[in-house]
């Protein structure tokens, strides 16, 4: 594999990881929004299938992000300024979203 292609795939992998994490939480929030507030009785009765589906769909979205980024030019990639702050903000958002809307 050429060095440029490897770099593109590397950035695409990072995009996969970020998008898969965000897509999972976004799906969960959509589920809660389109249904009822979290009901412990339903949580107990629910099979794990919903979790697997959310994971599978998140992988699909991650795959889409991977494909989009992998098609780009590696020269155009670089860490944005304040990337660490963006990652930190994402972490806090994921944490609070899953805490408030489990």
């Amino acid at each position: 594999m050429s060095e440029g292609r490897r770099a593109r795939f590397g950035w695409a992998s990072l995009a996969f990881g970020l998008v898969a994490a965000i897509a999972y939480v976004a799906q969960r929030l959509l589920e809660i929004r389109s249904a009822t507030p979290v009901d412990p009785l339903l949580v107990i009765r629910e099979a794990h299938t919903a979790y697997y589906w959310r994971c599978a769909t998140a992988i699909w979205w991650g795959g889409v992000a991977f494909a989009v980024v992998a098609r780009g030019s590696a020269d155009g990639f670089g860490l944005p300024r304040f990337a660490a702050w963006w990652f930190g903000a994402l972490g806090i958002t994921l944490l609070l979203s899953t805490w408030w809307w489990p």
């Binding site: 770099a7 992998s13 990072l14 970020l18 949580v43 107990i44 944490l95």
Partner: protein
């Protein structure tokens, strides 16, 4: 009785692997933070971090059905809020795994000159480690309230 011991053992292994994964995820975050190419030992560290994280997650998924049958009901009966914290833990665990997968792949694919890519992987590992520590904390707290029944 033997079955109860096995579930408790697997739950304990899941917890210990989770703690190991949280600590292990910090290592590549530190190794890659300056964007320098990985040494052979560093590559092993990144690879093993991915394996440990995947094992902890896989074991959790593996014992879930038994957990739902034997523990979850009594957990919600004991404390509704703690039951919901278990759900939070599950959601965050997925974020940890996906960030770790992205970080491992990026670290291995980065060429000698891809400094920014390695620094990006370091950030993914750092975020995964942070979330993993939260997952481990929540898991420990939930297990302290209700766990698989003791044998006998």
């Amino acid at each position: 009785m033997v079955v109860a011991v096995i579930w408790r053992l697997l739950e304990s292994m899941h917890g210990h692997l989770g703690v190991l994964a949280a600590v292990a995820l910090l290592h590549p975050a530190i190794l890659l933070r300056r964007g320098l190419p990985l040494s052979r030992g560093g590559r092993w560290a990144v690879g093993l971090t991915g394996v440990v994280t995947a094992l902890a997650f896989g074991l959790g998924v593996g014992i879930y059905e038994a957990y739902r049958e034997l523990v979850k009901r009594s957990l919600f009966q004991a404390d509704r809020e703690v039951g919901l914290l278990f759900e939070t833990k599950e959601h965050l665990a997925w974020a940890v795994v996906s960030l770790a997968v992205g970080g491992v792949a990026a670290a291995f694919l980065a060429g000698p000159r891809d400094r920014d890519l390695r620094r990006g992987a370091a950030l993914a590992f750092a975020l995964a480690a942070l979330l993993c520590f939260v997952v481990v904390g929540l898991g420990t707290y939930v297990a302290s309230v209700r766990s698989f029944p003791e044998p006998g």
